[in-house]
């Protein structure tokens, strides 16, 4: 039997656009049409002013490393030690992710380092947004 992989999300009607986006190679955020607040995680109204008039936008995929831990215990789908990171997107919101194409060490993982999104397909339904050190 193959080892179990990492926990995967189960999209809901309110988050489907986000997970459709990652499959299409897009990082999708939402922005309020009334107060211009850009927010995450997804919901069909603005968490700042409660307006239901919101739009989906394609984020730039640029971010900085805000904070992280390097986890040393075994978790299905991961080879410890690995970083569990929070990135701050250029558009403002934060999201949890993993940092790839980078040693998982405090020396390599410097806070505020620039990052860019990459998409890692897990199966036919789910693609996850991960981040790597920005190139150029």
């Amino acid at each position: 039997m193959p080892e179990p992989g990492r926990a995967l999300p189960q999209p809901t009607p309110e988050t489907k656009h986000f997970w459709d986006g990652t499959q299409a190679g897009e990082l999708r955020l939402q922005r309020c049409d009334e107060c211009s607040h850009t927010y995450f995680p997804p919901r069909p109204f603005c968490p700042k002013c409660a307006s239901r008039k919101v739009s989906v936008l394609k984020a730039s995929g640029r971010a900085i490393l805000d904070t992280y831990v390097i986890h040393h215990r075994k978790v299905p789908g991961f080879e410890p030690p690995y970083a569990i990171a929070v990135v701050k997107l250029a558009e403002g919101p934060r999201m949890m992710t993993n940092i790839v194409e980078c040693p998982q060490t405090p020396e390599a993982l410097q806070l505020d380092m620039p990052l860019e999104v990459v998409f890692e397909k897990q199966n036919d339904a789910i693609t996850l947004p991960l981040f790597r050190p920005a190139k150029g």
């Binding site: 995967l8 999209p11 997970w19 995680p41 986890h71 030690p81």
Partner: protein, 380 residues
């Protein structure tokens, strides 16, 4: 509204603390409740309000044979019990109940009579955090720490002193799980769990419980125990996702709950003789000291490293040894409350001589929730 008209008259922990493989979770609630009732000479028929978390108030009322006219099942993690005390004080003042029992019991280590608690894949946590490899609080709670350290220039050695100082307090508590002294080198040499935190910066995982009984201050004088009055209370919640905190250097929930309690109590920081700050992990006392306004932003690491919270220091903190050394069943808030009550009764193993006001501050989830209670042994 200032809650100086309500008092704790019964308080007790479970008969045993630590590893209790022969008692189920609901019986830990009951053992603590029976001890608290014995403490103040009450029977189940005398209780008309029940608040609990972990189990439901239905389970606890039925199991103990109580017919309540008021219940509270607020379950927002380890500070639920602070919030229960707040709600209970308001309920007693409003006349909704006369005598309220708050119970906690948790088979956190042995897992007896306790089911698994999976994160649903469709929840916000399941969609936007779990896929990136967290495994419970030790991987999630320390997420903000590196940002806090960089912002204020706080060192690993300063944070290690939280564990060192609390172990010194634990050494004075016969019921503490870990009592042998440790050094900064021991902390920074212990097994890495989730960088920057190592084993000795993470709480214990043990079994136990505790219970409180509250009634009006007017009735409190008729009980055999020394009344411990509720001076002020506060509560708040922020987010179930640690990644979505407004700030990684401060807890919004702490910043609401703590100051609310101080305003209700009408006291200032220099009035505080004793302080409990829920320490599931070593950074929580730092955030608590700053968010409650005991020290300026960024100063808590130095404040603790300079032994201000240690034995003989000006602000005794976590005098039972805390979740890092005393015990931690999962929802530790009840044990912090018990220590505040002991200090106000004058019965704590590491008693602060002459202490009149104790602040007890709790966290729930990973900075998800907070509750603060300010106690006094002085008649209002």
């Amino acid at each position: 509204m200032p809650h100086n008209t309500v008092a704790v008259v019964g308080a007790a922990e479970t008969t045993k603390l630590g590893v209790i493989p022969d008692v189920s979770q609901i019986q830990l609630h009951a053992d603590a409740a029976l001890n608290a009732m014995a403490d103040c000479g009450l029977k189940p028929k005398d209780i008309d309000g029940v608040a609990t978390a972990g189990e439901t108030p239905v389970q606890i009322a039925h199991y103990l044979g109580i017919t309540p006219s008021w219940v509270d099942g607020t379950s927002v993690g380890g500070c639920s019990f602070m919030i229960h005390v707040r709600h209970a004080a308001a309920a007693i003042e409003a006349g909704l109940a006369k005598t309220i029992l708050v119970t906690h019991g948790e088979s956190g280590r042995s897992g007896v009579g306790r089911g698994p608690r999976p994160v649903p894949a469709s929840s916000l946590n399941g969609q936007f955090e779990q896929p990136f490899g967290p495994m419970g609080p030790p991987s999630l709670f320390p997420i903000p720490v590196l940002r806090y350290m960089k912002t204020y220039g706080v060192t690993h050695e300063q944070i290690a002193m939280v564990s060192v100082v609390q172990r010194e307090w634990a050494a004075k508590n016969p019921r503490a799980t870990f009592r042998d002294p440790i050094t900064v080198e021991d902390v920074l040499g212990s097994r890495m769990i989730a960088y920057p935190f190592r084993l000795l910066q993470c709480c214990l995982v043990t079994d136990g419980g505790g219970a409180l009984i509250l009634t009006s201050a007017d009735r409190a004088k008729d009980f055999p125990t020394k009344p411990v009055y509720i001076l002020g209370t506060g509560e708040s919640v922020e987010t179930p996702l640690v990644s979505q905190m407004e700030s990684f250097t401060s807890s919004r929930a702490f910043s609401v709950a703590g100051p609310t309690a101080f305003r209700e109590a009408g006291i200032t920081h220099k009035d505080v003789d004793h302080l409990m700050i829920y320490d599931a992990f070593a950074h929580l006392p730092l955030y608590g000291l700053e968010d409650l306004g005991f020290v300026p932003r960024g100063e808590a690491g130095r404040f603790i490293a300079e032994r201000n919270t240690a034995i003989g220091g000006k602000l005794p903190l976590n005098t039972n040894g805390g979740g890092l050394s005393y015990m931690h069943s999962g929802m530790y808030g009840m044990y912090a409350l018990q220590e505040s009550v002991r200090q106000m009764r004058g019965t704590a193993p590491a008693q602060i001589a002459g202490a009149k006001i104790s602040v007890c501050h709790g966290v729930g989830g990973m900075f998800a929730a907070s509750g603060t209670i300010i106690f006094s042994n002085q008649k209002p």
